[in-house]
Each structure stands twice: as C-alpha cells, then as structure tokens.
Amino acid sequence: MKQKDMGPALTRRTFIKSAGAACAMLFVAGSLPSLVRPATAAPNEKNINDVLKKQFGNKNVTMSHVDIKAPIIAENGAVVPITITSDLPMRSDDYVKKINVYAEGNLEPYVASIDLTPANGKAEFAMRIKMRKTSNVRVVLETSKGRLYGAAKAVKVTIGGCGG
C-alpha cells in the first residue's frame, strides 16, 4: 500500500491498526460463519471414529481400491470439489453398493452417501462439498458383498483474509 493512497495521516501505527480492523471485518463479514470459526470453538464436534463405529460397528475397513481426488489446498471451504473413484468391479453379482463421504473437521462429519447399481458401469462419483476447516476427507465404500473399503485425503482449507 502506498502512502499517497492513505492520505497524510498514515503512520505505521495507524496503518497496522486499520489493516487489523480490515482483517477483522473480513472475518466478521465472511459469508460462511460456520467455516471461519476458529478451530478451537467446536464443543460439539463429533469424532470421526465414533461416527464410523456407530455406522459400521467393528467391521474392518480395508484402506485400498479407493481413490479420492481433491485439491491439496482449497481456497474456499464452501466449495471443495472431490472425485471418488474405485477400481472395484461393477458386475451384477459384485458391485459397489454405497459410497459414504465424510469431512472430518465438520461439526457433523457425515456429508453424503451415494447408492450405486451395476447400471452405473463404473464406481466413480464427483461432487462439491463444504469443509469447515483443514481436515481429512474420508470415504468408505460398501460393496454388495458387505466388504468395506476406505480412503482418506487431507485438504487444507484457507479462508478469511488473514490467511486463517
């Protein structure tokens, strides 16, 4: 910022003050308050392991055959594009029945589930999700034979004007 833009009254102190105020404004005016809330203020955040345990019991999740494509850094946590692919077969006797998507840092980690059938031909699905803060995107696939396959991918969410 150049001096002539700010008028003659600009000193280092006032500049820092106004810059700080501007940053604070950006935080307050953020269009998604739930996303810009500081990481500590989450008393009712659910633990992903509890969520998975509740949904799948003690079944073993194999961490293979699933690939999550997601940005390493998502500039806007309100729109994080993810693509879930799996090389598992989509035959009529053995296919991917369900894709469960979780964002670990969200207050409610469960994002969506997608039921597929052999008519899809291929176990691939792309969507855009909201993420409250930097965390893992986790996917658990269920096959028609009852097996579970999973994957996790870290996504850094940067939102807010102060690099928060």
Binding site: P33, S34, F125, A126, M127, R128, K130
Partner: protein, 109 residues
C-alpha cells in the same frame, strides 16, 4: 431465489451402445445450512436438498442421501452404462417439500 430447482444436464454428443458415459448435472439451490445468520442476527432456516434419485428408463440406478455439507448449487458427475435408448431422469427433493426433475434422452448408436 427465483431459479431454485433449475436443472442442467450434460451428456456426451455421440454415444455408442455399451459406452460408460459421464453425466454431469447442475441444480440451482441455496443449500442453506441453518447455521448462518442474517445481518440482523436471526438464523437463516435450513433449506437443502436431501434426496436425489436417478432413473434410466424405469430403473432407479443411483440414489443420493445428502446433508447440509453439500455445496450450494450442487454439481455432480456420475456414470451410466448406455446400453439402451431411454431417458435419464434426475429427481431432487428438498426439505421444504420441493421436487425438481428433468430428463435427457439417451440414444446410443
């Protein structure tokens, strides 16, 4: 928003019989979480699509169960094995009872 429920479907121009084709669908919807507040401090009520069905001909081929964590104006891509001439129909339902649907004809050569 006047355009809530407006749906756009995109499929490949030429489809061979048996191809696995990508189907891209965009629907206009605010997907309000129920956690955001207005300027006057009142909570904006939750308003989101929670149920999506995809039909190919008469068969339901895909179903989605969604929560507030799906982005506004949901844009999805899924795949369909184009083995018959039939419409692909997508039906969205939101929590206020809105039902939005659109179909596109698939004619594999």
């Amino acid at each position: 928003m006047a355009s809530v429920g407006k749906i756009k479907i995109r499929v490949p121009n030429t489809i061979k019989k048996g191809d696995i084709i990508p189907v891209q669908v965009l629907v206009s919807h605010p997907m309000e979480t129920g956690m955001r507040k207005n300027k006057d401090g009142s909570v904006i009520p939750a308003y989101y699509i929670n149920d999506v069905d995809v039909f190919y001909g008469n068969d339901k081929i895909t179903h989605c169960d969604w929560t507030i964590a799906v982005s506004a104006n949901p844009f999805i891509t899924f795949y369909v094995k184009a083995d018959k001439a039939a419409p692909i129909r997508i039906v969205y339902k939101d929590i206020k009872g809105g039902v939005y649907e659109q179909a596109v004809q698939i004619s594999p050569q």
